[in-house]
Amino acid sequence: MSLHPDKIPLLHGLADGELDAANTIAIEAHLKSCGDCRAELAKIEALRDMLSTPSLRTPSPDGLRARIEAVIDTESGTAHQVARPAPQRLAPTRPRYFGDGVAAHVLNRRWGSGALTGALAASLLIALAVPQLTQAGLEDQLVQSHVRSLLVGHVVDVATSNRHLVKPWFNGKVDFAPPVPELADEGFPLAGGRLDYLDDHEVAAIVYRRRLHTINLFVRPARTLSLAGAVSMRRDGYNLIRWTAGGLEYWAVSDLDARELELFRQLYAARTAS
């Protein structure tokens, strides 16, 4: 320590260029006559030199910018406006996903009658007619979500192969806990997770890879009328498999061939069952 402890802050201030004119003149005058303080200043400046190396800065991890962009997108509601039809909340009245007018008409009747829940006949009609119709629309949405996630390079909000990071990430974002098993040893490495929308509700999208293919696994709470058991289908060149387990409904979507996607389903179901 220097013989002049009271001068120490001023020496740091001088090295940092933070002193006003009066203090600068005073400390410089003192330095001329004090070897201790000159040595002290030299040490401060040597240390500052050491600390000026850029390698002390930790570069941001690769996925961070994408995560922040996703936060801004989500907050501002500007997320992929081009691809995602904007008035999400109004979707039930919007026949966009339903090619023919009949489907839209039935759907509106369903929503209209939803307010008048007393009508037993209408309820029966819903139970019988709607699952098929909404399913047709849902498949389109699923394929669109899958394609969109690939097109805009926004496959995942949380990019990690660590399932212990993906699972808690969904915490608070969706009101259910999608299982995220590790399947890398079976050739389906985990790529991350993403928040997506189906039928205007937030769903968890867990992303796995198979070689160069991407599998989007959409998870949402199963509806009471959902059919159990796996159903696979093909739409616009993509394969889809739907199944339910533990109160959740799963939709796996990929350009993988149906056989491999089924393998994925079996592995996933086996790992989550245990």
């Binding site: 320590m1 740091h12 961070l64 904007a86």
Partner: protein
Amino acid sequence: MKGTGLFRPRLVFSADRAEAARTAEADKAARFRQAMLVHMDAAYNLARYLARDATIAEDIVQDAFLRAYRGFESWRGEAPKYWLLAIVRKCHLDHVAANRKGGPAASLDDWADAPPPQLVESHNPESLLAEKGEAVMLRTSIEQLPEPFRETLVLRELEELSYKEIAAITEVPIGTVMSRLARAREMLHNLLIPGGWREARS
């Protein structure tokens, strides 16, 4: 599409208003990106030195950007980096407080086998230097400083903020910033060259 006719007037009306709101929101998002996103590296660097953990730092930065976006209206054109780093620091303190109260078990487990660096036996600077290079040694040494000194030093030396800005961010008078900085440099010097700061006398 007879069924949709009934809903159409309302739909168009709300769509117009929604459109206007969306334009304003998109404009805000664009301004926010332009002003703040360039300081992401600074935000991460500070979070990393404060939290001393890569994953936690990432969460802190993400949280900070979320809060910054939500509070963007309160930005009065002050230096964006300074404004953003103040939020990063708050997020860090909140994170620490949340975990102290008994946060999720997973993160407590993660910390259980990793004592805070200042409790680790003093490294041998020479072997560290030979092993990992000067930057790693410097970084490790900075991480060993107690938090008030570490944060002041990082804000000054790495983020190059002024005393005044550091005082505002850390919510202490400028005099305290000066004494913390002096003390931080002294401690760091002693870590790098044990006994070196006052080698003439000890």
